[in-house]
Amino acid sequence: MQIYLPIAEVSVNAFLLLGIGGIVGILSGLFGVGGGFLITPMLFFVGIPPAVAVATSANQIVAASVSAVLAHFRRRTVDLKMGTVLLAGGLVGSALGVLLFNYLRGLGQIDLFVSLCYVIFLGIVGGLMFMESLSALRRASRPGTVPRRRRHGLAHSLPLKVRFRVSGLYISVIPPILIGLSVGVLSAIMGVGGGFIMVPAMIYLLHMPTKVVVGTSLFQIIFVTAFTTLLHATTNHTVDMALAVILILGGVVGAQLGSRIGARMRAEQLRILLAGLVLAVCFKLGLDLVLTPREVYSLDPEGIG
């Protein structure tokens, strides 16, 4: 069944879009990532203009994250205090990111910059997670050795210390705010919620318990992507409601399934799966940058001032 999207001005198969929404929804519930890093490239692939794809996927991420976060609220795996601190940094960061985005778009280098960001961040994050979860799995298979975690880092020596009870941490708010800020900048430029950067940052930099990380990341993503959606709707008029509704229908169902699958899996297994996925996307995007493109010319109707 073909459907004509009013803002994107293209006609696309509705079931294809439902499927994309569903797959991304499962991932979002499973890993606590918004899924933007998958949905945006997938929408490019089915022929949605990039500006509409970025804006609309932000809208879809809001729905998927709301659906998933409710499941986490019931399991009490959301650190609201930490989420709010991260969010404060995130909103400032995404506003800065939009400014940078418009500047680079004027130069005609936005595609390259976005791709480079994806390759670099997905590469680093995926690689680190993969190695860490491999060694965690190895430790778990050899009983007797207790995993040693570094408890004292920069977050403990800086001022403005706050107790985060749900996470069981007593650390300074400066590192979480900085993390929120930088993820906010990146998420505005890359058109994603930023969960795939936020989740590892919370695990490896803030040393939060893995179970709490997913719910807290989802909580924060809802607000950052809602802000991004409004920003895109008011400045670029690129949020396609019809496209969003179809993606959401697939996405909310997927997110519910995902968070139920996630509850039955071990944290290390979850992490190694996510790492594999992140590395695969990174590899594909990196290849596109290096291989000779079939068409070296491109049309850019929005590239003017």
């Binding site: 809001v62 390259l112 809602a226 949020v239 850019d300």
Partner: protein, 251 residues
Amino acid sequence: MIRLLLALLLLAPAARAETVVLGLSQNEVAITATFDGSEILIFGAVRRESPVPDGAALEVVITVAGPSERLVVRRKDRVAGIWMNTEGMVIDAAPSFYAVATTGPLREVVTWTEDLRHSISIPRAIRAVGDIEGISDPRSFREALIRIRAAAGDYQVLEETIDLEEDTLFSTSISLPANLTEGNYATRIFLTREGEVVDSYEAVIAVQKVGLERWLHALSQEQPFVYGLLSLVIAISAGWGASAAFRALQS
């Protein structure tokens, strides 16, 4: 006065021996939610006051042009192993859609000068009088624009697709792609002999969104903040609804 009018009436057909009478299967295209491209039948007849002239055959050319827009054509080059955009050329006005159908090979049906005068062929229909300073090869940028749009089915050269019966009745069909933009699509018909345009006629096909599509598009343009909020409300309630529904299913 009456004599003058009479003289004009008598002279008018004589000045142009052959004129076009045109019909369109539809002069409006409504973009609905299930819009999946459209086929437009263009047909017409040649009206004559005198017998068919001897010599060169009558040819028909039909063009359909979508609304024009400004755009930038960019070229990638390999810089330090990575492909990135290096040069960009502004094209002042390029139609979002352009189809040209003919009774014979385009170059034989219309001379170069007539093409230049009436902007019939695709390269003529694109205006690129913009800033070409500092661009090494403006021509290849224009060619790239046509190549990309032709590959997407937005630019169509349909040579020898018009049926011309007894030098009088002609018909052709032009398929509009699914990714149609709104606007007025100018449809022109040229009658030519020996490559010279004998008569031309212009009509407009109005392409516009209807129903929900129209309402959403208008809202997003006129009240973007309300539109944004509405999108969020839908997203949040859908997320909450799905969560509640799944809980109800489980218990």
